[in-house]
Each structure stands twice: as structure tokens, then as C-alpha cells.
């Protein structure tokens, strides 16, 4: 990554003031942790935490053919979305490999796609290459701050700042409203597996909203959460991370994303190949596994069964909730059943592991 291009989010100074440890991630200077990954992780599971996820990209689709365009470029069925509803989806290449996983939001006058920071340029280019007439596409990422507020006390925290009844915003729904007087989009979504919201706010109001949420969450000991805990939180729920668990070389069916692959919606990019893969059956499958001994899987660690290579780890971490090493990885289909045991090769040693039911917690 070109050093000169490394960007700061609108909340960068807030992170510094909060004592964050900063790393470069996807072209942004981002907080990896503040107080420590484990403490931050457990705070989100038990109470509430606040995250700056402004590095995520936002791309708008407007015009008479906006829906048609979204339908063509994504694999889930966006025609099922009602206004103010969102869905998890993905874009695929013609060979079925994944361009990116993303969220599609249906507004009254547009569709908004929230894409991974690391894929923003690549994804935008892919969309433009496949652009249809009658649709206007805009990358609006630089004008939006995205703040996630996640955890069982997130509703109580945010309810203090708004008049809309947050209990009534269902999972994967959103509202355009006011939060502490600022115009926001507030969406009941997240990457932690807890009740939570993601707040889209203008660059100008970013710090103000962050401070207001911190103040409102004080009684619940709210604290800022870095990308480190974001990763451990999502891994415990077996949510895919692009670049690790899904890539251009993996397809949605083997990644366990068949549930968002809607063949019946009509044509979309990658459909033909994916139908063929489905008909022939997937050869490998993304599984979650736990390590029996005190050892920790990491990305790239190989998996063997009785001396035979069966797959590779795509994500691995010490799980703060279950205090064990957990991993995700692709294994040959015949070894993907829950309970199947195999060895993870950790620094040359065979360490016992087992396919477990996911989410892990």
C-alpha cells in the first residue's frame, strides 16, 4: 500500500485520545485495540461497545434500473427487499469466485451497498465494468462515517438519543432518523452476533455522535472496540471475513453461503457456473473447528487426517468466550461433518482438532 495514500477516518483523533493502538488496515489508519482485545470482546458480549468502521465502503445505485443492476451484480434476491430493509449478499465473478461480500440496503429512492474496505476499489471497478443503462452509480464512502454500537445494552444506550422506538427496528431493517439531533441512518445490523446497530452519519457529525453514544452508554460501561475484537467476535459466530474465509478463489456454495445464492431470481453474474457446481456437488466445505489441546490455529495452518492433506485454515484465533483455539477452514467434503476429527499442523506438530457445530457460541 502506498504510504501517501493511507487515510485517516474522521474519528482518528478520537482514537488517539482514547489510547488506541493504531495499525494500517485496507489503506486506513485504524484502531486494532484500546484496552485489550479480550476485555473489549467480553464487553461487547456482556454489555455494549462502540466501533469505528468508517473504512467500509458505500456505493449508491440510483435510477430506473437500479434494482435490475443490483440483481445482476449480486447473488441474493434484492427484489424481495421492502423499503428500509437490508440483506446480506455477495458479488461473484463469472467463474463463481467471490468479488466481495456485502450488505444491500433498500431506500425509497436508491439502493446502497456496503462493501469491504479492502475491496472497495476492486468492487467499484467490477460494478462499473458491468454497469447497465438507466442506473447511476456513486461511491459515497468518503462522505460517510460508519459507527457500530453492538452488545446486549446497545438498544438501551441508543434509545436515550432518539425518539424512534429502536425495539421496533427488526434485524436487518433500518430507519432514517435523528440521533442526538443529527441526521442518521440507523440499521439493526452488525458483525458481532449480538444485538446491535450500525449508524451512518456525516463526516461533520462523526465526533459529536461518537461522544454522545459514549455518554449515553456510560452507565453500561461502554468502551471503544478495535478491529482485533471485531475479528474475534465475528469468528466466534463463523461470519466470513473476505480475504480469509472467502476470496476470488472460493465460491459461495462451498463457503456455506448457499442461503444467499438465489438461483430462482433470474440471471446474475456467476449463476451458470454456480448452478453447475451445485449440480455436481461441492468438493470442499468451509467448516468451524476447535482445537482440543491448548494451541491456537492461524490462517494458513494445514489440516491432515491420517496423513492425508484435507484442507487449510482460513481464520484462527484464541476465542475469548470459550477460552480455546478455534478456526475456520476448507476441508474435503467427506471430512466436513460435525465430530470429524483431524490434525492441525502447528509449527510442525500435529495437534488434535474437531469439526464443531457453528456458530461456536
Amino acid at each position: 500500500m502506498d504510504k501517501e495514500k493511507i487515510k485517516e477516518t474522521a474519528l482518528y483523533d478520537v482514537h488517539l485520545k482514547s489510547g488506541a493502538k493504531i495499525i494500517e488496515f485496507a489503506g486506513y489508519m485504524m484502531p486494532i485495540s484500546y484496552r485489550g482485545i479480550i476485555a473489549e470482546h467480553l464487553k461487547v458480549r456482556s454489555s455494549v461497545g462502540i466501533f469505528d468502521v468508517s473504512h467500509m465502503g458505500e456505493i449508491e445505485f440510483k435510477g430506473e434500473n437500479a434494482l435490475e443492476m443490483v440483481q445482476r451484480i449480486t447473488i441474493n434476491d434484492a427484489s424481495r427487499l421492502k423499503e428500509y430493509q437490508a440483506q446480506y449478499s455477495a458479488m461473484c465473478y463469472r467463474d463463481g469466485g467471490i468479488v466481495d461480500d456485502l450488505l444491500v440496503y433498500r431506500f425509497p429512492n436508491k439502493y446502497l451497498m456496503v462493501v469491504n474496505a479492502s475491496n472497495r476499489e476492486k468492487g467499484y471497478k467490477w460494478i462499473i465494468e458491468n454497469k447497465m443503462d438507466g442506473v447511476e452509480i456513486d461511491d459515497v464512502s468518503d462522505s460517510i462515517t460508519l459507527i457500530a454500537v453492538q452488545g446486549p445494552n446497545s438498544i438501551k444506550t441508543l434509545q436515550k438519543l432518539t425518539e424512534i422506538n429502536l425495539e421496533k427496528i427488526k434485524y436487518y431493517h433500518f430507519a432514517e432518523s435523528f440521533l442526538a439531533g443529527s441526521n442518521v441512518v440507523i440499521s439493526r445490523t452488525g458483525y458481532t452476533g449480538e444485538i446491535g446497530f450500525e449508524i451512518f452519519v456525516s463526516i461533520e457529525d462523526s465526533e459529536y455522535i461518537w461522544d454522545k453514544v459514549m455518554e449515553a452508554g456510560k452507565e453500561f460501561d461502554i468502551e471503544p472496540i478495535g478491529l482485533g475484537a471485531r475479528d474475534s467476535l465475528r469468528l466466534e459466530k463463523k461470519y466470513c471475513l473476505y480475504g480469509n474465509d472467502i476470496t476470488e478463489k472460493t465460491n459461495p456454495l462451498e463457503a456455506g453461503l448457499g442461503w444467499i445464492t438465489k438461483f430462482e431470481k433470474g440471471d446474475f453474474i456467476g449463476r451458470d457456473v454456480l448452478i453447475k457446481i451445485k449440480r455436481e456437488g461441492i468438493k470442499r466445505k468451509l467448516i468451524g473447528y476447535a482445537v482440543v489441546e491448548k494451541a491456537f490455529p492461524r490462517k494458513g495452518y494445514k489440516l491432515f487426517k491420517n496423513g492425508e492433506f484435507i484442507g487449510e485454515t482460513t481464520s484462527g484465533i484464541f476465542s475469548p468466550s470459550i477460552q480455546k483455539g478455534i478456526g475456520m477452514g476448507y476441508v474435503k467434503k467427506e471430512f466436513s461433518e460435525v465430530g470429524c476429527s483431524f490434525d492441525v499442523i502447528i509449527r510442525g506438530k500435529n495437534v488434535k482438532a474437531e469439526v464443531v457445530k457453528t456458530p461456536f457460541i
Binding site: 474475534s232 491456537f296 484464541f318 475469548p320
Partner: protein
């Protein structure tokens, strides 16, 4: 940043406390801060030989794994077994209860290659 004056340091962020030919080894305050929550330390067996600048063990944080490098060649004469159940002692007290191993050095001349506190400070500031 805590960099005690009475210790010696490696470029890989281990500290060494020298007493006769016994060298107590740990990782620095800077290193534990960079690693974050330490969840596991793979300790060597007592009696094994260490080679200067070669790995003698492994330290696992939540998201990352790093090798531990021997500041001097010699023989491991003690390991901090408290780290088996409380690896985060390294986070809490990197220069005290978080010590990792003791090496009986075989060649005191190797001490000359270690950094002093000001040399180490320069290293991490760059």
C-alpha cells in the same frame, strides 16, 4: 514506555538480566504492548541448548503468534511455569513475574552484542 536501565535487550524485543553466567530472559514492555493479550507461551524444556538469535519458544496473543529469540547461547536452567496458567503475567509485569526462562550462558562475549537501555530505546523509536 518502561525500559529499565539495568537490563540488556535484543532487536527482537527480549530483555536480559545478567547475574554471573545466568541470564534471565523475558519480553519487553514495548513487545507485550504490541502483542496485546498474551494467551499462551510455549516454553522450552529445562536442559535444552539455546543458540543466540535462534528461537527458543513461541508466544501466542489473541490474533498473532511470534517466536521468542535467545539473547545468548547456553543451556536452559529454569522456565517460568507460572506462565502455563497465567500467560498474561507477561502483560501485567513483563520485567518481573512475567520472566520466561533462565539461560546459563556459555560465552559471556555474546553479552557484548546486546543493546543497552538507550540503544533499545533508539531501536523502538525508529
Amino acid at each position: 514506555m518502561n525500559i529499565p536501565e539495568n537490563l540488556y535487550y535484543t532487536k527482537e524485543h527480549e530483555w536480559s538480566s545478567v547475574s554471573g553466567d545466568i541470564v534471565t530472559v523475558g519480553i519487553t514492555d514495548y513487545a507485550q504492548g504490541e502483542l496485546g493479550d498474551i494467551v499462551f507461551v510455549e516454553l522450552p524444556k529445562i536442559g535444552i541448548e539455546t543458540t543466540v538469535a535462534q528461537p527458543f519458544g513461541v508466544i501466542e496473543a489473541v490474533k498473532t503468534v511470534s517466536d521468542l529469540y535467545a539473547p545468548v547461547s547456553g543451556k536452559v536452567v529454569d522456565v517460568n511455569n507460572a506462565l502455563v496458567n497465567e500467560p498474561d503475567l507477561i502483560n501485567k509485569d513483563p520485567y518481573g513475574e512475567g520472566w520466561i526462562i533462565k539461560i546459563q550462558a556459555e560465552n559471556k562475549e555474546e553479552f557484548d552484542n546486546l543493546l543497552d537501555a538507550s540503544g533499545y530505546k533508539k531501536l523502538i523509536e525508529n
